[in-house]
């Protein structure tokens, strides 16, 4: 027991989670981290839409929020398969799971989700206003869509974490995760898009769907990591 700091074994959970958060952020911006893949995919999808739909500016403006949301949803799903798989491949996942006895595994998963969101999804939210211009959306619509994306996309990551944990052992689990997760994200999409429309189309409300969207994110912030932790706990081999 030489050289052990007093009470050091029970280091603060917040300190530990901050270390994990910073590591995952660092990994996402280093080479091969894939922070930019999502943004580039998002950009590619949005840039293609006007070519497909045609140059009808009114139509583009009307479908703008929905297209932004669908493209962001798909871009979110893109990097999810690496959420736990990268850790599994190099053996880190075993050690993260072993930490369960000191701090809940769900907390570790939540931290990884937040880091994944900040590293790969937040850039999408930041790029969304610019891409809104491509869709001829008015400033209020752009603002509302960016705001709903900011509040709603964490929910997609939290649901995705559960899917990623289930498919962690599969060598090409990316598609399976998307298929597993997509139906569960539909409520998020519905309330996200209806809040975005509510900000521009007058009789429609903005606040109610927006608050439900926020509630969904909070609800899934608990449910997703707990489900993912359960799957990871029983998925080690």
């Amino acid at each position: 027991m030489s050289g052990r700091t007093e009470g050091g074994a029970q280091a603060k959970a917040s300190h530990i989670m901050l270390a994990l958060f910073l590591r995952d952020i660092r990994l996402s911006i280093r080479a091969g981290g894939g922070a930019l893949t999502g943004v580039i995919f998002f950009l590619a999808v949005i840039a293609t839409i006007p070519f497909g739909v045609g140059p009808e500016l009114k139509l583009l403006a009307r479908i703008g929020p929905a297209i932004l949301w669908i493209a962001a949803l798909l871009a979110c799903l893109l990097g999810l398969d690496r959420l736990f798989q990268a850790d599994r491949e190099d053996g880190s996942l075993d050690l993260l799971v072993l930490g369960n006895d000191r701090h809940m595994l769900a907390l570790t998963v939540l931290t990884k989700c937040l880091a994944h969101w900040a590293g790969s999804v937040l850039p999408l939210v930041i790029a969304a206003p610019l891409l809104g211009l491509f869709m001829n959306m008015e400033p209020a619509g752009i603002g509302a869509t960016a705001l709903t994306l900011l509040v709603g996309t964490p929910a997609i990551t939290f649901i995705g974490a559960a899917g990623a944990a289930v498919a962690v052992a599969l060598p090409r689990g990316g598609l399976l995760i998307s298929v597993l997760v997509l139906p569960l994200t539909i409520p998020v999409l519905i309330f996200g898009v209806s809040a975005s429309y509510g900000a521009v189309a007058d009789p429609d409300p903005f606040l109610q769907p927006f608050l439900i969207l926020a509630a969904l994110t909070l609800f899934l912030a608990v449910l997703g990591p707990v489900a993912a932790a359960l799957a990871l706990r029983h998925g080690t081999d």
Partner: protein, 199 residues
């Protein structure tokens, strides 16, 4: 503290790999697990760590105190994989594991010196050779204190000098009252009970 296995059995994919394993280790004792490939050495270590369910019998971890209520919370598990990120530097990797485990016992620089990697902490982990990677993973055991070391082929890929250095590190750990359970084919240079698994 004590680590006790009673009539322990393990299985992989529904098939029994081993059964009836018994051992009891106290402070400062080591267990060297030997046996042919496929005898269940790695499975045994993973069961002790709690990464795999116990198929029969039980594993107990006693007198760990408040800090170490279970084997999982008291152990450093060094598996086949090094659990290091190739995109991060060696120091970044070690700092993360020190912070994540809590209870740092030696500085990162000091730990790297101990395993003979002094001065290369700034390199990305991916640039290191197999043996150097293993040494960096061993340094991970030194940056935070855990009384129980579960080592799966810890010296795979190490040269003679590094093996000796690692033997010394394990010796020190045992002297300070730690427990080591190591699965290996090679002599590790520590005194300990031997558990021969026949598969």
């Amino acid at each position: 503290m004590r680590l006790i296995a009673e009539n322990l059995g393990g299985e992989r994919g529904g098939e029994t790999v081993f059964s009836g394993i018994e051992f009891a280790l106290g402070d400062g004792q080591a267990l060297v697990v030997t046996g042919p490939n496929g005898a269940g050495k790695s499975t045994l270590l993973r069961i002790v760590a709690g990464l795999l369910p116990v198929a029969a019998g039980r594993v107990r971890f006693e007198d760990g105190g408040e800090d170490f209520p279970s084997a999982a919370s008291a152990c450093h598990y060094l598996g086949h994989l090094n659990a290091m990120k190739t995109a991060l530097s060696v120091t970044e990797n070690l700092c993360f594991w020190r912070d994540f485990s809590g209870a740092g016992s030696a500085g990162v620089e000091e730990a790297l010196e101990t395993v003979g990697l002094g001065g290369i902490g700034h390199l990305p982990f991916g640039y290191l050779s197999t043996g150097q990677r293993r040494r960096a993973a061993i340094a991970k055991l030194l940056v935070s204190h855990r009384p129980l070391w579960l080592l799966d082929e810890p010296t795979a890929g190490l040269d003679k000098a590094s093996e000796e250095r690692f033997g010394e590190s394990m010796g020190k750990h045992l002297e300070s009252g730690g427990i080591v359970v190591a699965a290996t084919h090679l002599p590790l240079g520590i005194e300990g009970k031997e558990l021969r698994m026949t598969g």
